[in-house]
Amino acid sequence: MSTLVNPNLITDLQKFGAADINACFSCGNCTAICPLADNDAMFPRKLIRLAQVGLTDDLVASKELWTCYGCGLCTTRCPQEADPGEFMGTARRYAIAHYDKSGIARALYTRPVIGGAIAIGAAAFFALFFAAIRGEQSHTSLALFDFIPYGVIHATGIVLMIIVALFSLVGVGLLARDLARHDGVTRSSLFGSKEAWGRTGRALWYALGIESLGQKRYRQDCEDDEPVEPIYRRRWLIHALTLWGFLGLLLATTLDYGMDLLGIKATGTPVPIWYPVRLVGTVAGLALMYGVTWFMIRRWQASQCNDTSKPSDWLFLVLLWVTGLTGFLIEAALYAEPVPAWGYWVFLIHVAIAMELVLFLPFTKFAHAMYRPVSLFFYGLAKDRSANSV
């Protein structure tokens, strides 16, 4: 069965980066040296080839895109200096844009002016919106939710989450469908029998537990004779702290909301710094800030595979960092005497940026948080299959 190729795929893809990839002559050194490539997921050579010959569907539906953690070893060993590591990153950008049917992700990646306008416009919109509905600033205590009503923030958040969920479901659904087709995974092979359920469960645990939360393979990448970086700036640790910090903040917020619902503590009630929920938030925030700051430094230094960052890559980090920083400034303002007026405005910025961060989930690098687990699920299935077929 002959496949009609898209002759312009590589030119289109190169709008997202990978300027040097044309030098690739398919030798396969990258795949040979890759510490993460195995029989169940071969890359980068295969994926570069798919892009070169124009097999779009195969490229975006390759779980291999997301089983790569971008250590950059392939780039250091490429005899053609084609930068395969950068290609993998670019292909992931391309896949994110491919599964975002709104075109926003593509604009953010490939059109700096329009993308910048979208990013700044969204932030300005949220800031102006909250400024427009703002209330009184109390001078006796930092009553943030009198300044911007808690109900409005809550409602806006719900609306945004619904929008994001719609886009995300479409993207994840399409990717899952394509991956399933590509790997020959059927509904019955997932849920058709008790064994199938077992397989599915194991793959889910692998994707979410072992890999996403446990970062198992991320910890293993670059396990070769390369000099290892000191532990405090090792990539998996930076990522783990960012991820766990993010999840910790999510947990703190959820707990705070839950206690409000249960009537234990109303949201906005002043609490001491050692109060458990506050403590979780503070520690998680510190972890997030540490991780994101390192990510930004590495990206700034253009090290390894982050040598050609796109504005959209920065956008995600900047939104996270500003959200974290403003969070800590608010925390400082909460315990400051007398009540600082700037605390209210920092809060406004914090809420506006956090809203944008959530809204942009499906359109920026943030989208890896949904596509990578899906792909890892299929990788888990493939590993399971090959382990049992031996």
């Binding site: 002959s2 009609l4 312009n8 590589i10 044309n22």
Partner: protein, 600 residues
């Protein structure tokens, strides 16, 4: 050597008026190549008592410096007048031992080489006795032939310092200038109305991007200024007579509907008639469909496009597929050779395309890329510029067809993409056609050019004699020999210049005297020999009021083809006379020992 010089013993050995010859025989061990399978000492001893044999030795290596000196000493001390070395094939060392004879003031044609290696020891490694017996017979035959040898001298020909160049492509043009540079007049004939050949039609060419048209224009300007270069266009070589160094060639000039004949006296001929581009069959890889073109057609199209957009049949070209090795490397029965220039020419053209419009997507469907030497850098550059290379297997050629959606589709199984079958939609398909030999039947007939099984002309030796042919004084240069690049063609043209100079600049040439000779007393002018000679060396002449045959010794190759056809035994081959051959055969079969039964 006068009678007085001959020592008494030799003079006493004369029988029946014929002087007894004094022959030295050397049976070589060739390390062990011969002596391991032939009892060399037995051969030596068997030859000792042979009439006329004065010296019989068995050196370990006859060709070694020491043995050569010993032979020279023997020849001088023993007053030898014949030399026989039983060793390897004459192809290897005939010249060596002829020179030994020369250095010892012995006529070099009194030397006979007997091959007891390839034709004996190597052939019978398991039969020492039989091989030894055979060796004795072979050496005796050699001695018998040597006994009857006559002293011969090389033929000397006065040469004409003028060369005919056939073909006015870049190799012929550059050769003509080269000839003029070394002081040999050049006469250049070109069949077409214009000089310059293929290269005159090219724009930028690899490796230096220089314009082929400009390069040819420069050569033509140079030729215009040279008084010792004459060019004829619309002209053909239609006849050749005379001998190497002194040919008379007939040129036919096609002028205004009528033909004019012209005779030119030349010393050598350089054939640089070039190639034709392979013409695909109708339907071969889609040839015939709108948008499927050959490499020369594509090159013309690209050269004619300055910048901006590449168009074909009025429509903008946004994607191109190149299919390599069309008409080359076809396997048994077809053109088995690689055309050598087309990979690089295509890659170079694709870079040109990138310069015209960098947004054009280019797919190269190849079997093996042979952009050799520094052309590899062009290959790298074309990949860097975005060309994609896809590899198909020898036995799975791509297919070209019109897509249901319109436009062209090229389908192949790409070895580099998991051997998946891919269809690439493109606006233009370029069939990378190779070189084929040009039809030159007339010229081949006139010059008796050796044509290889692939249709290209053959040189004598691909490495050591790369432009000479078996026809003395006729050289070949460029793509008429085999597919090659412009640079390689010009290099061959200049090699032919150097070889012409080597033949003509001395003013004379020496030829082997081992040629046929007619005995005018015996010849009755029967004429059988006239039609037999493949070199047209035999003509009828008037002699003593009779018509007889005469062999031109400069033209004769000494093949001996005329000798047996003569009903009167009037022709003899010098060095291999009937008498000599008969004596050799007699000697070989008149052995006293029982003839060994052949192994069944």
């Amino acid at each position: 050597m006068s009678q007085a010089d001959i020592p008494e013993a030799a003079a006493a050995g004369q029988e029946g008026g014929q002087p007894q010859r004094r022959i030295g025989v050397y049976i070589c061990h060739c390390g062990g190549n011969i002596s391991d399978y032939v009892d060399v000492a037995a051969v030596r001893d068997a030859l000792k008592d042979e009439p006329g044999v004065v010296v019989s030795e068995s050196p370990v290596f006859a060709c070694s410096d020491g043995t050569q000196h010993d032979m020279i000493d023997d020849i001088r001390a023993q007053h030898l007048d014949g030399l026989v070395v039983a060793s390897c094939s004459p192809k290897l060392h005939q010249v060596t031992f002829r020179n030994v004879a020369k250095r010892a003031d012995l006529n070099q044609y009194a030397y006979t080489q007997v091959n007891v290696r390839e034709q004996d020891s190597w052939a019978h490694p398991h039969d020492l006795a039989g091989a030894t017996e055979k060796a004795i017979g072979l050496v005796r035959a050699g001695v018998a032939k040597t006994r009857l040898s006559d002293p011969l001298e090389p033929l000397v020909i006065q040469t004409v310092p003028r060369t005919l160049v056939v073909g006015g492509g870049i190799a012929g043009l550059r050769a003509a200038i080269g000839l003029a540079d070394v002081g040999i007049q050049a006469v250049l004939v070109e069949r077409e109305p214009k000089l310059g050949g293929w290269v005159a039609g090219f724009g930028a060419t690899f490796p230096n991007d220089a314009s082929g048209a400009e390069e040819v224009a420069g050569l033509l300007e140079e030729i215009r200024q040279r008084r010792d270069i004459t060019t004829y266009t619309n002209a053909e070589l239609t006849g050749k007579s005379g001998t190497f160094g002194d040919y008379m060639v007939e040129l036919t000039l096609h002028r205004d509907g009528s033909d004019k004949a012209l005779s030119v006296n030349v010393g050598s001929i350089v054939v640089a008639t070039g190639f034709d581009s392979y013409a695909p069959d109708d339907g071969e890889l889609g040839y015939g469909i709108q948008g499927v073109v050959t490499l020369p057609q594509f090159k013309e199209m690209v050269d004619a496009t300055p910048s901006g957009q590449l168009t074909h049949a009025g429509r903008r070209v946004r994607s191109i597929a190149y299919i390599y090795c069309v008409g080359s490397r076809q396997g048994a029965g077809g053109n088995e050779y690689c055309s050598k220039y087309c990979c690089t020419a295509t890659i170079h053209a694709s870079l040109q395309v990138g310069g015209i419009d960098s947004s054009i997507r280019q797919f190269h469907l190849y079997r093996d890329i042979r952009a050799y030497g520094t052309n590899e850098l062009l290959y790298n550059a074309s990949r860097d510029a975005g060309s994609t290379f896809l590899k198909f297997a020898d036995d799975a050629l791509p297919a070209v067809a019109t897509l249901p959606t319109g436009g062209l589709g090229v389908t192949l199984v790409d070895v580099l993409t998991d051997s998946r079958e891919l269809t690439i939609p493109v606006d233009l398909v370029v069939l990378v056609t190779g070189m084929v030999p040009r039809e030159n039947r007339g010229l081949v007939g006139v010059l008796k050019l050796p044509v290889g099984s692939d249709g290209f002309f053959n040189e004598i030796h691909p490495k050591l004699r790369p432009v000479e042919t078996v026809v003395d004084g006729v050289m070949i240069a460029g793509c008429c020999q085999s597919p090659r690049t412009v640079g390689e063609s010009v290099a061959a043209g200049l090699a032919a210049v150097a070889q012409s100079a080597a033949l003509l600049k001395k003013g004379f040439a020496e030829l082997e005297p081992l040629v046929a000779r007619v005995n005018p007393e015996k010849c009755i002018g029967g004429g059988e020999c006239l039609t037999t000679c493949p070199y047209d060396a035999i003509t009828s002449i008037e002699w003593d009021a009779r018509t007889i045959a005469s062999v031109d010794p400069a033209t004769c190759k000494g093949c001996g083809g005329c000798v047996p056809v003569c009903g009167r035994d009037a022709i003899d081959l010098l060095g291999y006379t009937d008498q000599q051959m008969r004596a050799a055969i007699e000697e070989m079969i008149s052995t006293s020992e029982p003839v060994k039964e052949p192994v069944s």
